[in-house]
């Protein structure tokens, strides 16, 4: 099996596999839902509620 002509593809493949392993271990999903971070503090973007935070959870 002569892999010399495929050296660039194999390099690309190893990068992909390495990143896939890193992503799998760190719980990174490529199709995550878009989550708003830390909205309970500002609470300005909840569609059907105009009020402030309902829960004080500190």
């Amino acid at each position: 099996m002569d892999i010399k002509p495929l050296k660039y593809y194999i390099g690309f493949m190893l990068v992909i596999l390495f990143y896939f392993g890193y992503a799998t271990w760190n719980g990174i999903t490529f199709w995550a839902d878009k989550a708003e971070k830390n909205t309970e503090y500002t609470n300005t973007n909840r569609g059907h509620f105009g009020s402030g935070a309902r829960f004080y959870h500190k």
């Binding site: 719980g27 999903t29 199709w31």
Partner: protein, 449 residues
């Protein structure tokens, strides 16, 4: 017979053409029986070693040989001297090619052929004894367990020649079948020297740079390649088998990584509960519900029980299910880290409609939705849930939270990335093959004709 089993090339000898008395050089004087006078185009036979006799006139060559007669060089690890040059064409067509007869002092003759800038190094059974076992039918030939596919059938005609031969080349009127298995070619000739026995010749596609280097010539002086040679190897085709194997190994490595990590950190259910939901009363009118005037019924927000995410960073799936029936529900779900107060908020709509129309049942939507959150750190969490619906009869929401779920989409994406190059390579290979076979009447591909 060409002089063989020698340790070096014989010394060239010259003699006078019996017709025009011009000087002719023989490069294998003891082995060559026929030669052509480059001046008067007489075809001369040596009746005895020292008795040349003009037999007939032959057509002169139209082009000067690219590799001059008498040139010596090394090709395929053998030393050769060019002793003849022929111009040929396919009978009944205008397709012409050139052949250089190469003489080796150990084994005899080999041939270099050139058509449209594509070169082949061709040998007979003296060089390739396994040709004795070669066999063929109208569609395929087999040699050394390699199957060759028929590419062309023709009768060659000599249109010009110069040099020397150990046989009467003008008496050759073979019918030729050419079979290919790039970079190799098998030529089956019947009718050489009046014989009806099939003779096989084996050729290998040879880059002009290799020939130029072997004979100390400038490769730039070689004719450029036109179209695709009959047995020209495809770069993609040559490495595709290896590429396919490597790609399959990579695809399996992806699965191995997944299953290895899942063995260390298995999928774990962190929460799985039904939550009763109820309306929020209007603060100004206790008989109506909040938002009911706009058709959106806002339910009381609620908290889930706490749960522990035990892994490092992981993927969380939050499944929200409601018993919607021709209605919708929307839930804003806030994941709250009780240790850091960090939050992740996602709003999902659940809708499910069905009916019966024009004699057919139909349905659309789903009673559940999944929320996928990425890189959720280890810690204690709960959910804040803010439901709303167009249906005031909803009584519960089912919530399930799972850590380290199987992310098939990640796997599919990586497989897709890994397959891009093999797919492109395959397309280019088949495109190359289609172009190759456009020059053949025996193409395995469908043609417009």
């Amino acid at each position: 017979m060409a002089t063989v089993k020698q340790l070096s090339f014989p010394e060239p000898e010259t003699f006078k053409c019996p017709n025009c008395h011009e000087s002719i050089t023989l490069f294998d004087p003891d082995g060559s029986e026929f030669c052509i006078c480059g001046s008067c185009n007489s075809f001369i036979r040596f009746v005895t070693a020292y008795t040349p006799k003009v037999q007939k006139n032959v057509p002169p060559v139209k082009a000067k040989p690219l590799i001059p007669l008498g040139a010596e060089g090394t090709l395929k690890d053998h030393k050769f001297r060019v002793i003849a040059y022929l111009e040929k064409k396919e009978k009944g067509t205008s397709y012409g090619w050139k052949e250089y007869l190469l003489y080796n002092y150990e084994k005899g003759y080999a041939t270099l052929s050139e058509f449209n800038g594509h070169w082949n190094f061709i040998v007979d059974k003296i060089w390739e004894p396994s040709l004795e076992k070669a066999y063929s039918d109208s569609g395929t030939a087999t040699h050394n367990n390699i199957e060759y596919r028929i590419f062309n059938k023709y009768t060659p005609v000599i249109t010009g020649l110069i040099g020397e031969f150990d046989w009467d080349v003008m008496e050759d009127h073979p019918r030729v079948n050419e079979y290919i298995a790039p970079p190799f070619i098998i030529s089956r000739e019947v009718g050489n020297s009046g014989s009806n026995k099939a003779q096989y010749f084996w050729g290998e596609y040879t880059e002009p740079e290799e020939i130029a280097e072997g004979f100390g010539l400038n490769a730039d002086s070689f004719p450029p390649k036109v179209e695709i040679g009959a047995n020209q190897p495809s770069r993609q085709g040559a490495s595709f088998d290896t590429l396919a194997k490597v790609s399959i190994l990579a695809a399996l490595a992806v699965l191995l990584v997944v299953f290895l990590f899942r063995a260390i950190r298995p999928e774990r259910e962190l929460l799985n509960s039904d939550f009763n939901i109820s309306f929020e009363r209007n603060s100004t009118d206790s008989t109506s519900y909040l938002g009911s005037s706009s058709g959106t019924y806002e339910y009381k927000p609620f908290l889930s029980s706490s749960f522990e995410q035990p892994y490092g960073k992981t993927t969380l799936e939050i499944e929200v299910r409601a018993n919607v029936d021709n209605s919708w529900m929307e839930a804003t779900v806030v994941l709250v880290n009780e240790g850091t107060n960090e939050t992740w908020e996602v709003t999902k709509g659940i809708e499910y409609y069905h009916g019966y129309e024009s004699g057919e049942s139909w349905s659309e939507g789903s009673k559940s939705q999944s929320i996928i959150l990425s890189k959720i750190p280890e810690g204690k969490y709960h959910l804040n849930i803010y439901p709303a619906s167009g249906d005031p009869t909803q009584t519960y929401l089912h919530i399930a939270v799972t850590a380290n779920v199987m992310m098939w989409r990640n796997i599919l994406l990586v497989w897709l990335l890994l397959s891009i190059y093999p797919i492109i390579s395959y397309i280019r290979w088949t495109s190359f093959e289609r172009k190759r076979w456009m020059s053949s009447d025996y193409s395995p591909y469908e043609t417009d004709n």
